[in-house]
Each structure stands twice: as structure tokens, then as C-alpha cells.
Amino acid sequence: MIDMENLLEINGLTVELMTERGIVYALSGVDLNVAHGQIHGVVGESGCGKSMTAKSIMRLHNPKRSRMGGTILFEGEDIAAMEIKEVERLRGKDISMIFQDPAMSLNPLMSVGNQIAEMARVHLKSSKAEARQIALGMLEKVGLSPAINRYRQYPFELSGGMQQRVMIAIAIACSPKLLIADEPTTALDATIQAQILELIQSLSDEMGMSVLFITHNFGIVAEICSAVSVMYQGRVVETGYTRSVLDNPAHPYTAALIASIPTMALESQKRLGSIPGRPDTLYENLSYCPFCARCPQAFGQCRNERPGYQYLEDGHRAACFGIGG
């Protein structure tokens, strides 16, 4: 898994946020690699830091209320160390992002066509007419036709699925190398979700674009991601190729999480597996395994030390003392 072909390499990323109640250790050492053309899933439950990781790559935190550590290498350049002006040039052009709630993420007073055209105006310095042509092309590409009519519409006139298509059109307008998709289908219905997933997958294939797909749904990961990272309490606890992780979860958290998913294969009326307790708050910078309190296999070392990665075959790795040793 670790090869020189990585488009994005995150090493030891930490993010601390200042909040009303003190410092939150949102990310405490995230390691994540995304290869060229790969759809890489990031899964975890709410508060695990998956969206925070996405925002960090785009440097979207308020610099006054947060501080970052570690490196985010994008094509060999460290985004974490860049001047904000340089980051602005990357945003939208080389790295794009789509969000969970498309209705809130579109400017309500601007026609969707103009919001797409703005990308061409800002990044490609196109003329008004060129930008319009590009926007029309993008609308067709994401399946919003007739593009001429859609161009003039405002976000409130579109359904949630169509709004997400517009967000995608904006994101891919400048043919980015990496698309960060932050729970893009959570707010959508099942049949619409299937449409959007297919769209993202086909765009990735067609454009050779890498995708960092953030979700809480293992099913989506299984369907579209070739690799996956599982996050818990601000750390990546397990990484590997999707089938490898799903079929042979190495970390107890991953295993428990998978066991708790109601699946169609499961016989009905059977009790589901569940994880006792709940995640801790993140006000402490932990010096031990964050999962140890809920882990059925925890032993002495887990409560005193933070586990490093244990490597299994084919780049599959997990941060747990219980493996191999």
C-alpha cells in the first residue's frame, strides 16, 4: 500500500481546537495515503475526526481557533506548511470538496450556472462566455439536462439529489486531481444515493481523479472504495484494501463495528452485535489506546501506552497491541 505513487500522504496529522470548554484534541496523529486514481474510504462514527481530516487537507479551519501539526503531502508538497495564498490556489483547482448538506453549501442567491462558472473565472481566468460554456458542459456531465435551463435555476428550485450534482459539477469544473467527498449522500434517499455514488465512481474512472470518500456507512465503502481507513477518536486505527479490512478486520473496533451493522444477509429477529459504552470526550490528549475502555481484549499495556501500527499482509495495518504479539 505504501508506494511512491501516492497523490496524498498524511503523516502524524494533529489538530487541536479551541472551544468554549477548553482544548479539544480533534485529531491526534492521523496517517493516511491516497494513491493516484484511487477511491479511498474513511469510515468512523460521529466525532471520530473524519470530517476534521477532510477540512484539514483544505486548511478550512479558523487559524485563530485551531492549530495543526504533522504533514499533509500533496504531490510532494506540504499543505500544512503552505502560506494561505498558496492553499487558495490549490483549493478547487487541484483539490475539490463536496459536503454533506448541498442545500446549505450553495449560495442561495446565485444561479447554479454562475456558481459553476465562477470556478472557471477564478481558476482558469476564463472570459464570461468561456466560463458559461464550461459550466454548461459540466451540467451535462453530471446529468443535469437540459443544461441551458438548469443554468438559470437557483438552488432552492432543485431537489437534494440535483443540488448534490451541482456541487459535484462545481468540484470537478477544473479537473482536480483529488476530490474530497464529505458524507455526500448522507442527506439523500437510498435510490438517489445510488445515483450519486455511481456518478462519483464513473467520474473518478473517466478523469483519473482520486477520491477521499468520507462516510459512516461500511456498505458504501464496500461498493465504491478500493481502500479504506477506519478512524476512532482522532486516529486511523486500521487501513488496508477494502476487502481485506472487511473480511479480516484486525482491530477489535473495526470488528465490533462491522458486527453491529444490520445486513440483508443477517437472519431477521436475531440480536445484533453492539459495542458497550460510548467514546470519551476529546478534552484529553490520551497517552493510551482510546478504545481500551470498550475493548473486550484490552490488557495492561493498552491502558498505559499508545499502540503503534502492526503490519499485516498487503499494506493492511492496524494500531493495536493485540495483533501478532
Binding site: 479551541m18 468554549e20 470548554r21 477548553g22 482544548i23
Partner: protein, 308 residues
């Protein structure tokens, strides 16, 4: 060392959204001082506010008359104290009237809706078509001058504003799940409105009421300034300012002092309301920088160390 201190677990209680900020404390002290001084005016006053001493007409500040005298030779300091009674009681009356009518009407409009809502809202539209003081002018023109007329007239103008606010808040709450839960638990509409919806709206309403109290002081003083409010010889800040402005060059205190007291009381109410809103609205909390936070923790740490 520093890292270890920052790593300390902080209390779960929200420690930055404090209500008792310096500006809140100052504004509270000023307002309470104004209230006490006016409420106990007979104790603090040095003279009878309505006694004319023509020989000291328009006199400047002196030992016996701390702030000088007005054209009729009445003691300015004492009149400012008594004037506070009129202004504050009047404003309280205006706001009181709007509470008594506005909150129940707003709750009914928002929660029950339907025909009652439509009728009440149309009525509000008509009243709000009058710029604030204009309806008061009309009332005074019809029923004559006097503090009661002014208070009632302004109260009527303030009711629809509070009704609208309460209504919009009630509609927001009505659509929340806990209200559906309350209905499905078989609670009566009255219980739902007063026990469940109102407590969840009251903080926003309170913020508005403190602001309204300030506006009521301003509006009442405007009426008196124009000579449409209190009747002579009753002391009132607005009326005093109105008379004093005729002698601006002779004794500027006559208009500036009542003016300053008006500003002071309204400013303190506004700051009070601002702090209250910031306290209630967590997105407005201003957070310390990481350095400030570290030094703050270090300070908290020190007394403990020395004590140990």
C-alpha cells in the same frame, strides 16, 4: 511543561460563555444605581422638586444647588431624581402592558394558529403601520396630555412587536420533536404552551424586553420633550431637557444632565441585553488564543501549588 498544562482536563462547565463579564457588571451596577436613586428620591433629594425659588432662577451649580436651578428656580439635582421615577415607572408600564398582552397573544398565534392567528396578525399589521410615536401623537391629540395616556399609547404600539416575536419563536418550537412528544403524551395545549414552549422562548424574549425597556424610556422622553407627555410641574427627564434647551448658553446643565441620565440608563440596558444575548448564543462566545489559554491555566495552577 506547557504541553502538560494544556493537556489538563478542563471542567465540563462552559467556562467562556460567562454572564458576569466586566461590561455586564458595570452596566448592571449603573442601572441599579439609577433605579435606587429614583425609587428613593425623597431620601436622596436635597430640595422639594416642585418648589419655585425665583431668586435662584437659572443659577449655576453651587453648594446648596449641586447642579444649579432651572428657570423657575427649582433644584435640578432633585428634579433629576424625581424625573427618574416618572421615566422608569412609565417605561415599566409600557413594557408591562406589552408583556401582559403580547406574550399570550403570541403563544396562541404561534401554537394554535388558524383563524385566531390570521386575525391577530392583521390587527398587528394595522398597528405597526403607524411609526412608533405617531400613534402616541394621535392618542395625545384625542385624549389630552398626561403620563397615563402616553404609557397606554406606547404600550399598544409595543404589543404587536412582542406578539410577533413570541409568535415566531413559538412556531420554531412547535415544530420541534419535543412538542410532538408532548402532544402524543396527551398534554393539554395550555400546558404545552406555558410549561414547554414558553420556557424555551423566554430567554430570547427577555433579551428583547430589556431592549424594549430602553426604547420605552427613549420614546416616553421624546413625547415629554415635545410637550406631549407629562404635565407641569411633574419632573421628567424628557420634559426637563425640552425646557432646558431654551437656556442652552445660560445654563447648559439644564439640558445636558437629564440627557446624560437618559443615555446612561438606556446604554446600560442595551449592554445588559447584549451580554445576555451573547451568553445565550454560544456561537458568539469569543475564545482565547492558545497562548492566552495556556497562561490562564498557568495562573489557575499557581495558587494550587502554593497552597500545597
Amino acid at each position: 511543561m506547557l504541553k502538560a498544562i494544556i493537556g489538563q482536563k478542563t471542567s465540563k462547565k462552559n467556562s467562556y460563555g460567562k454572564l458576569l463579564t466586566p461590561s455586564f457588571a458595570i452596566s448592571l451596577v449603573i442601572f441599579i444605581a439609577i433605579v435606587v436613586l429614583s425609587a428613593f428620591a425623597p431620601v436622596f433629594a436635597t430640595h422639594d422638586p416642585n418648589k419655585n425659588e425665583l431668586q435662584s432662577s437659572l443659577a449655576g451649580p453651587s453648594k446648596s444647588h449641586w447642579l444649579g436651578c432651572d428657570v423657575n428656580g427649582r433644584d435640578l439635582y432633585s428634579r433629576v431624581l424625581y424625573g427618574g421615577r416618572t421615566a422608569l415607572m412609565g417605561a415599566l408600564g409600557v413594557v408591562g402592558l406589552s408583556i401582559v398582552l403580547g406574550i399570550p397573544l403570541g403563544l396562541v398565534c404561534g401554537y394554535v394558529g388558524g383563524l385566531a392567528d390570521t386575525l391577530i396578525m392583521r390587527l398587528c399589521d394595522v398597528i405597526l403601520a403607524f411609526p412608533t410615536l405617531l400613534l402616541a401623537f394621535l392618542f395625545v391629540a384625542t385624549f389630552g396630555r398626561g403620563i397615563t395616556i402616553s404609557v397606554v399609547a406606547l404600550g399598544i404600539v409595543y404589543v404587536p412587536m412582542l406578539t410577533r416575536l413570541t409568535r415566531s419563536l413559538a412556531i420554531v418550537e412547535k415544530n420541534k420533536t419535543y412538542v410532538s412528544a408532548a402532544i402524543s403524551l396527551g398534554y393539554s395545549p395550555l400546558r404545552i404552551m406555558y410549561r414547554h414552549i414558553l420556557p424555551n422562548c423566554i430567554s430570547t424574549i427577555l433579551v428583547q424586553l430589556t431592549l424594549d425597556l430602553g426604547y420605552a424610556i427613549l420614546d416616553l422622553s421624546s413625547l415629554s420633550f415635545l410637550g406631549l407627555g407629562v404635565i407641569e410641574p411633574t419632573a421628567d427627564w424628557g420634559a426637563m431637557l425640552g425646557q432646558g434647551r431654551l437656556y442652552l448658553l445660560v445654563n447648559p446643565y439644564l439640558s445636558t444632565v437629564p440627557g446624560a441620565v437618559i443615555v446612561l440608563s438606556v446604554v446600560s440596558l442595551n449592554i445588559f441585553s447584549d451580554c445576555l444575548r451573547q451568553y445565550l448564543d454560544h456561537t458568539q462566545v469569543q475564545l482565547p488564543s492558545f497562548e492566552e489559554y495556556a497562561s490562564r491555566l498557568e495562573k489557575q495552577q499557581k495558587p494550587q501549588e502554593s497552597g500545597a
